[in-house]
């Protein structure tokens, strides 16, 4: 006969203060559910605990939604998990924990700056077993509560139903910012991409609409309008955006991009530019001009420094054989020789002019290539993706997150001299996956969290991961964006693109955006030579 330790005296203080707690218990029992208790008699499991998602040894923000996971043990009929000393959660044979949000919040609030021990028990035919406990640390610092992303099938050419969504990171609520269509319409089908916000706020934001109803939707508070950047001198239109932190300016790249599909290569798809330049767009005056417009180089992925004093970007030299007329396939055939470095230029906000470019990361000198430079809010770190070649790194297994110390004077002497850290560069080893692409990253507004997309889960569908970046500049093990159902991502057949954190929810209504996209014409920006 199995004996259980009735742990109500440990479970209940935080959950059942006063008489209401007893009412809850009575309701719980009267519904026919068995109270969850920690088994008193158990043996130690000889096999390792396997949970999905893998939330072992991670650092979490104190305001994150419950990290529901499933225990992968097909021999067990039920499970019990303890989180610290005050939270007990049970699961049926499916192993899925559904942690109460209120209890979870209290747990994390009490554990700020501390470690939580998590112990899982499994009820197997021979009896209960206890897995080796693991820890979960709770940071002092919160994460911005809203995360925007696009959901779209991974890569390829065609598109049908896609949208931009906003997730409340403190719970499981996901709201639609904009969706293109539910029922396909040949006349109305359009793609949407590159949502971007000014200074982690949603007062000013933008996203692009491609194909039917094309243009760039610019949002100002609760209003929106659509613009275009069509001019003979502009390659295509604005593509990758970056809002200036304080001014109504957006730096765009303009790219002539194509996709090619491998016949055998394990990396399946290559997305590459044939040409790219940088634009500066004035959102208040609807004016656009070139920042950089060169044939010998491709400039892309602009990113402002947090104080707006510099603009960072990626740059690759165009191979000599590709200057002038050539077959588009020639560019594709040189896909692995296109190496991007990171540069920056000073910006004068009064004259709105840029100074001389400065090389920040000589990736090509290392035989590597960079993409998506992002500066930490304190201006100390340059975060980027480093891969073997190219710039669309989400398809490259070699791509990992790296940082560069922008203020090396703050590094320790040992750090400066380390041969493993030339130019103050280092990989975020703890956050990176071993062999799968990690890319498209963003900082939280307090600089303590990095959110990025990774294909490490199933190698094909990118998922959102969150990693703590501590005050010593060390990244910690990344964890997957929690879902109410731990297997939600297993069933989801779309990828998460472009995760972006904001402090507030999107202000503009879906109806306003629908109207702007579908029923207004794009006003072409004035081009300033």
């Amino acid at each position: 006969m199995m004996k259980y330790l009735n742990q109500r005296h440990l479970l209940l203080p935080s959950l059942t203060r006063g008489a209401w707690g007893w009412v809850l218990i009575l309701l719980f029992i009267s519904c026919g559910s068995r109270p969850i208790v920690v088994p008193l008699e158990y043996s130690e499991a000889t096999d390792s605990l396997v949970i999905y998602p893998d939330y072992r040894e991670v650092v979490v923000p104190p305001n994150i939604a419950p990290l529901n996971f499933m225990v992968c043990d097909q021999t067990a009929s039920e499970f019990v998990a303890t989180f610290g000393e005050s939270l007990l959660v049970g699961a049926d044979a499916d192993g899925k924990l559904d942690i109460d949000t209120i209890a979870w919040r209290q747990l994390l609030a009490d554990a700020k700056g501390k470690e939580l021990s998590v112990t899982v028990y499994a009820h197997r035919p021979a009896g209960w077993v206890r897995y080796q406990p693991f820890t979960m640390s709770v940071a002092e610092e919160e994460i911005d509560p809203f995360l925007s992303y696009r959901l779209i099938e991974p890569g390829y050419e065609l598109y049908r139903q896609l949208g931009i969504y906003q997730r409340n990171l403190t719970n499981f609520n996901e709201a639609v910012i904009y969706e293109n269509n539910r029922a396909f319409s040949n006349e109305d089908n359009h793609c949407i991409n590159c949502h971007n916000y000014q200074a982690y706020d949603t007062d000013r934001m933008l996203f692009h609409v491609r194909a039917s109803h094309g243009g760039t939707v610019i949002v100002n508070g609760s209003e929106a309008h659509k613009v275009a950047m069509k001019h003979d001198s502009i390659l295509t239109s604005g593509v990758y955006p970056s809002w200036h932190p304080t001014l109504p300016l957006v730096a765009f790249s303009t790219n002539k991009t194509g996709q090619v599909f491998h016949m055998l290569h394990p990396e399946k798809i290559e997305v590459l530019d044939e040409a790219s330049d940088l634009l500066l767009y004035d959102a208040d005056k609807n004016r656009v001009c070139h920042i950089l417009h060169t044939k010998e180089a491709m400039e892309t992925f602009p990113c402002w420094a947090p104080d707006g004093s510099r603009l960072y970007y990626c740059r690759a030299a165009v191979p000599a054989s590709l200057l002038g007329e050539h077959n588009p396939i020639d560019t594709a055939l040189k896909y692995d020789s296109l190496l991007y470095d990171i540069y920056s230029m000073p910006f004068d906000p009064v004259t709105r002019t840029f100074g001389e470019p400065r090389l920040e990361v000589d990736a090509s000198g290392m035989g590597k290539s960079t993409s998506v430079p992002r500066i930490s809010p304190d201006g100390r770190y340059l975060l980027f993706t480093l891969g073997d070649y190219g710039q669309f790194h989400i398809w490259h297994k070699s791509s990992d997150l790296w940082v560069k110390e922008l203020r090396p004077e703050e590094m320790s002497p040992m750090g400066l001299m380390s041969p493993m850290r030339p130019m103050g560069l280092r990989p975020l080893t703890a956050a990176n996956s071993v062999e799968w692409p990690d890319s498209y990253h963003t900082w939280s507004s307090n600089g303590r969290w990095i959110v990025f997309a990774s294909r490490r889960d199933d190698h094909n569908y990118s998922r959102v991961f969150i990693a703590y970046f501590d005050r010593e500049g060390q990244a910690h093990r990344a964890f997957m964006l929690p879902q109410r159902d731990p297997q939600y991502n297993t069933l989801l057949l779309k990828s998460y693109n472009v995760p972006e954190l904001t402090k507030r929810a999107v202000q503009v209504s879906r109806e306003t955006l629908n109207h702007t996209v579908l029923h207004t014409e794009a006003e072409n920006a004035e081009y300033l030579p």
Binding site: Y156, R160, L162, C191, G258, M263, K268, H459, T490
Partner: protein, 313 residues
């Protein structure tokens, strides 16, 4: 539709029978599935032209209402059965995007993930299929292969398809569409005799005779399969050296000359005479060369899917 079900059940002989039973009609999905069946029955090189390949003006309506020659009904399957796994994945994903998740695309993606030894991805798709009614047999067949590459390679269908998998990387855009024809017709290196035969048959189907002749070189000294021999014979007049390389073709040349002589008038108006002559010359490559698939290059019959974006989404 019947052939698609037979294809799902790997009933290759049944597919051949269905194709022959429906010879009155000629349309691309039927022809494509017929070719797939011949790959697996080993009769690609002697039976491909046993059905009409004239492609009557038949089309379906795509989900967006536009006329469609049915490319989506066979493209993924043909890529897959031609050993072009990356390309098959490409089209299966496009199918999933445009049609939503279907058993067709999910099953293809499962098999392709297994062939790629991509176990987490295969598990994902198998998990989804396990939640679906009536798909237990599929899951039971393929789930044991996860984490067991030896079981993947032991599967008879996978083993057959591996024979024509590319040996070197290149890009789809380097080949004329559809890739299962364009790639095969311009094959430079293959890993098996099957790859060479598929390449030769793709050339014959596409009537790319210079490419065909170049790829016959490895067969010198051997007896070529019947259809390939008939293809060689059509080029003897322009290339008499063919008879030096294949002296056994002399008899075929006489038969070919009789064919030309007997149908001299018909050759003057091929579209008008093609259907009439089919029953008499069914399976004879020179008939196909002169009278078959005359519409193949007409652009108006080639409908494209809407919603495509040549750039990045």
């Amino acid at each position: 539709m019947r052939m698609q079900v037979q294809l799902m059940n790997e009933d290759w002989e049944g597919m051949v029978e269905t194709a022959h039973a429906n010879e009155a009609l000629s349309y691309r999905p039927l022809a494509a599935n017929y070719a797939i069946a011949l790959v697996h029955t080993g009769h690609l090189t002697d039976a491909l032209f046993d059905i009409r390949l004239d492609y009557d003006t038949l089309y379906t309506h795509s989900f967006d209402g536009t006329a469609d020659i049915g490319t989506g009904l066979y493209l993924t399957d043909c890529d897959y059965h031609a050993g072009l796994f990356r390309t098959a994945t490409h089209h299966a994903m496009e199918h999933l995007t445009m049609q939503g998740p279907t058993l067709f695309s999910l099953k293809h993606l499962t098999r392709l993930a297994l062939l790629d030894y991509d176990w987490p991805l295969a598990r994902k798709y198998l998990y989804i299929l396990r939640q679906t009614f009536f798909e237990g047999a599929f899951v039971e067949r393929y789930e044991p292969m996860v984490e067991h590459p030896e079981l993947v390679e032991a599967d008879p269908v996978f083993r057959q398809l591996r024979l024509t998998e590319p040996v070197a990387d290149s890009f789809e855009s380097q080949y004329q569409e559809p890739a299962f024809l364009g790639y095969a017709a311009t094959l430079l290196a293959g890993r098996s005799r099957e790859a060479l035969m598929q390449s030769l048959m793709a050339c014959l189907y596409s009537k790319r005779m210079p490419d065909f002749l170049m790829r016959c070189e490895p067969l010198v000294g051997a007896v070529p399969p019947r259809t390939i021999a008939e293809g060689l014979v059509t080029q003897v007049v322009k290339n008499p050296s063919i008879l030096q390389a294949f002296p056994q073709l002399q008899m075929n040349v006489q038969v070919y000359q009789n064919f030309i002589r007997n149908n001299a008038e018909a050759l003057k108006d091929r579209p008008a005479n093609a259907r009439r002559l089919f029953d008499e010359y069914k399976g004879y490559y020179p008939y196909y060369y002169f009278f078959g698939n005359l519409k193949a290059t007409r652009k108006k019959d080639d409908k494209e899917h809407a919603g495509s974006n040549a750039g990045v989404n």
